[in-house]
Symmetry: C2
Subunit: 282 residues, 2 copies
């Protein structure tokens, strides 16, 4: 193992500490805490666990959370009505709708119900366009967490070739757009990409966001590259086959303890941003 | 010269003919023609020429145009007020604000005043996000024209490596997003890209949208590639040094007569889409 590990747990703790100070200042100033509303639809155990983790981190960092739980049988109209009610509530600063919302609810329609100012998870069209245009917004949590992690290890993206594997609306797509705004050359790869190993071998910075365990083999990675693994699968596996990758990479995120902790830290930081002053980048 | 020329003039004529039939049907149905409002700020001769060309093509194809001309001294508030008035007018189906709007007017703020349904030029955040997400929208005219041109020459983008040089909000950025939605592997290059010749040499399909005459040299292009040149500069030059490129490429757009005619044809087609049924892809 030659690569230095990029310690997301430690960086997330630093961000949480900073967020907590800001949250306390907001509370002192306006008399009530910043508040994140979470919306959980259905009874997927993993989704329920993620929501609980987010609520716990809120509580630890001076932020209130308000939980809305809806049955799996909910209609799109019922879920959007719940979101609209939270959006209209001046006591709620930010809204998180836990992804994935179970079919047949139209997740996109639910997301678009959130106003831009309260979209602390960065899932609306308004946030996506703003990330593309470089205008003020809450940045999607995992993508923003990845950029913070790279920055903390002095990886300046300008001019580097970032290869993103995956193009999901809340991860691959926005992390590529944020990298482009940071002046990286950006390549999007996905399930239709031909000769994925060759494309990956061209990366100065590889961002694996494909959601399949160990799809990316270590020997595909260029010696000296930076590897960010946003995957998290049963058994603690990422999207990258880590053992060989760590022999070749210069910097690599562990799984767990890399990207994951940053996601929640950015979410709560975005919530306090919203409480402080509306739309500000994470 | 080995490359086959991609004839944008001919394809634009075909699209215009189809648009004219649809426009006439709308007129018969509702008693008045589809209408494109054009907004020209300042007295840049090139911008004035483009607007006149668009109005002429409207008239030729059964579409009314309404011209709003504002002085270069206009404020952002004055221009947005003019756009808002057109947006509220039920006789106006689509709105084109000619780019570039002269500084110090905030062009982005002006664009965002256009409602999604009337954004037939595809310049708003709502349109950009929809192009990224693959949801219904008017697609930006030059990018949509490029995709139509490729399709008409049987270039199926799925799995191909599209390299876009340039990342402007109305050309490079959206044409890459549309290519990604068409399942291409997409690389964005720009002024910070290192080793541009190497990146360009990897392209199955090169889309040059950089706005500098003959910046891209013919010998950089891979033998058998498809070359789309969206540049148009004095002396009839494109962004690509054509003579050598045409020796190497399999298909290439002429300048003029390639991408340019498609832009206006898509604009008017989008306007008739808006008149017919609201938001539909070009």
């Amino acid at each position: 193992m030659n690569a230095q590990l990029m310690d997301g747990t430690r960086l997330a703790q630093q961000l949480h500490a900073e967020t907590r100070r800001r949250a306390d200042a907001v509370t002192l100033n306006r008399g009530h805490r910043p508040c994140l509303a979470t919306v959980l639809v259905g009874d997927d155990p993993a989704s329920a666990t993620y929501v609980r983790m987010k609520q716990r981190r809120c509580a630890e960092n001076g932020v209130d959370s308000r939980a809305v739980t809806l049955p799996a049988s909910s209609t799109t109209a019922e879920v959007t009505a719940a979101v609209r009610s939270l959006d209209a509530d001046p006591m709620v600063d930010g809204i998180l709708v836990q992804h994935p919302v179970p079919v047949p609810v139209d997740e996109r329609a639910v997301f678009e119900t959130i106003s831009h100012a309260k979209d602390v998870d960065g899932v609306t069209s308004a946030s996506l366009a703003a990330m593309a245009l470089g205008t003020p917004t809450h940045r999607s949590c995992t993508p923003a967490g990845i950029l913070r992690l790279l920055d903390s290890y002095a990886v300046a993206l300008s001019g580097l070739h970032v290869v993103v594997v995956g193009r999901s609306e809340i991860l691959g797509l926005p992390v590529g757009l944020l990298s482009l705004c940071a002046d990286a050359t950006v390549t999007y790869c996905h399930s239709h990409t031909q000769d994925l190993p060759t494309q990956i071998g061209r990366a100065d910075v590889l961002i694996a966001a494909v959601g399949r365990p160990q799809l990316i083999r270590g020997e595909w990675i260029r010696a000296g590259a930076v590897v960010v693994d946003a995957g998290y699968h049963p058994g603690g596996l990422g999207d990258v086959e880590t053992a060989t990758a760590a022999e070749r990479a210069r910097l690599i995120t562990p799984v767990p303890g890399g990207v994951g902790p940053m996601t929640i830290a950015v979410l709560i930081s975005n919530t306090v941003d919203a409480a402080e002053r509306g739309l500000v980048s994470a």
